[in-house]
């Protein structure tokens, strides 16, 4: 889980790192229940966000997030027993506005019984050219401490640095385009201590055995994305995003996203979206190695394989406006649901009986649900 865990910490940081104009974020509080169900995994829990301005130039925020995990994925079932665990993540941040410059600081930590991560984030946003252009620069540094249940002698570390560059540009009074670029460099223990590679062993009952994965201890990746939002002649909008990714492990990926947001009266917002993701495998990935320790670095983590996924999602928001005299301005009740289908090109389902290396390719689907209340003040 460690690769996932490490990425988790940084992906959730997007909470405070979206490319945005150099204005203080809106005061709001959100309480969310989230759920991921699919591929034998059941993950759910709450997330609470509080954000409040102090005066006209300072905004503070805090986020509390919990994942309660019941794991019986194909990786677990092939080599171990189902497990349960909990991850708790806490973050605090402050945004400082001076004229057209927004400076943001954020600290986040994530704790599990076998993993601890913390990260520091700094960002600067500046508006230019009559506020038509917003430039955002960001830097993050993270440290991971990795343990392994049942092995008290196992203790590893990893470090991570992110550099971000973002640009948002008003094109017309109905269109905004955004560009973003991010470089991430990792060093240390980067693989998952629980995941294994499979190799041929004619003496084994199944004809193969498993042994520990070995990843390179450095990784450098680049991602670039372009987005566009367009306001339609009626109160609705469309958006699109294209993203390219490449890293030093040989993974090349692309992501395309398309969405439509429609309003019904003043109170209802409905969104429909689709997303497609495709990647080429890491250089050191194989579903089946020909012998034990065939290469110095080796992986059979399905996230390192060649695969694609396609998701369709919908959101419904009901908005309630308070009276002008009320401290609270408005509240929303939201339900977001996405259905994702994963198709793997070179990761086989070893839970099914078949000759070694000829098992059916793995595929599964998952549902991602978010139910939350937001209140603005």
């Amino acid at each position: 889980m460690n690769l996932i865990k490490a990425m988790t910490l940084f992906s959730l940081i997007a909470l405070t790192w979206q490319t945005q104009a150099a204005v203080l974020p809106q005061d709001r509080s959100d309480a969310m229940y989230h759920s991921y169900q699919g591929g034998g995994m059941s993950i759910d829990g709450p997330s609470i966000l509080l954000r409040k301005k102090i005066g006209n130039s300072v905004s503070v925020s805090a986020n509390y997030y919990v994942d309660t995990i019941s794991g019986a994925s194909i990786d677990v079932l092939a080599t171990a027993s189902p497990y349960e665990e909990e991850r708790t993540e806490k973050s605090v941040g402050v945004d400082l506005l001076h004229e057209k410059t927004l400076v943001s600081f954020n600290y986040t930590n994530s704790l599990e019984n076998d993993f601890f991560a913390e990260s520091y984030h700094l960002g600067v946003s500046q508006d230019f050219f009559g506020d038509l252009t917003t430039l955002t620069l960001g830097f993050s540094k993270g440290n991971d401490e990795i343990c392994r249940i049942g092995d008290v002698s196992f203790y590893e570390k990893a470090e991570r640095q992110n550099y971000r560059l973002g640009l948002t540009q008003i094109i017309t009074k109905n269109m905004i385009v955004g560009l973003s670029f991010e470089n991430i460099a990792d060093q240390g223990y980067l693989n998952n201590p629980y995941r294994s590679v499979r190799y041929i062993d004619p003496t084994a009952a199944k004809g193969y055995q498993f042994e520990t994965e070995v990843y390179p201890n450095t990784r450098r990746s680049n991602a670039a994305a372009v987005t566009a939002n367009y306001y339609l002649p009626y109160r609705a909008s469309v958006y699109a995003e294209a993203k390219l990714f490449s890293d030093s492990w040989g993974i090349d990926a692309n992501t395309y996203k398309l969405g439509y947001i429609h309003t019904f009266g003043d109170d209802w917002i409905v969104e429909l979206r689709a997303r497609h993701y495709a990647q080429e495998k890491a250089d050191f990935y194989q579903d089946l190695f020909s012998r034990s320790a065939e290469f110095n670095v080796r992986a059979r983590d399905k996230e390192m394989s060649t695969f694609n996924n396609l998701s369709f999602g919908a959101s419904v928001t009901y908005e309630f406006q308070f009276s002008a005299a009320n401290f609270f301005k408005k509240s929303t009740i939201n339900l977001d649901i996405d259905h994702v289908n994963y198709d793997y090109d070179n990761f086989r389902n070893v839970l099914l009986d078949a000759p070694v290396g000829e098992e059916p390719l793995y595929q599964y689907s998952a549902n991602i649900t978010r139910l939350y209340v937001s209140i603005f003040y």
Partner: protein, 78 residues
């Protein structure tokens, strides 16, 4: 090929960001013309808690990472 496309995209990005430094710039979209841009439906991340979680849920199961967020409203009228 994909690495080349990534580099071309980055070069365009830097060129756009570095272009123009006039202090007397006249915006072609005036502040009073930005009502539509300020509408919450113009943000791909109008609900940050949900958007962050969705990014996490998808990307934790993918090899790619970074450059999340997208256009979050750039009109100085949040």
């Amino acid at each position: 090929m994909k690495k080349m496309r990534l580099h071309v995209l980055l070069a365009c990005f830097i060129a756009i960001g570095a272009s123009g430094c006039s202090t007397t710039f006249e915006p072609w979209v005036k502040p009073y013309e930005r009502d539509n841009l300020a509408d919450t439906i113009m943000s791909m991340n109008r609900n940050p808690v949900s958007a962050s979680y969705t990014n996490h849920a998808l990307q934790a199961r993918e090899g790619a990472r970074g450059a999340e967020g997208g256009a979050g409203g750039g009109c100085g009228c949040n």
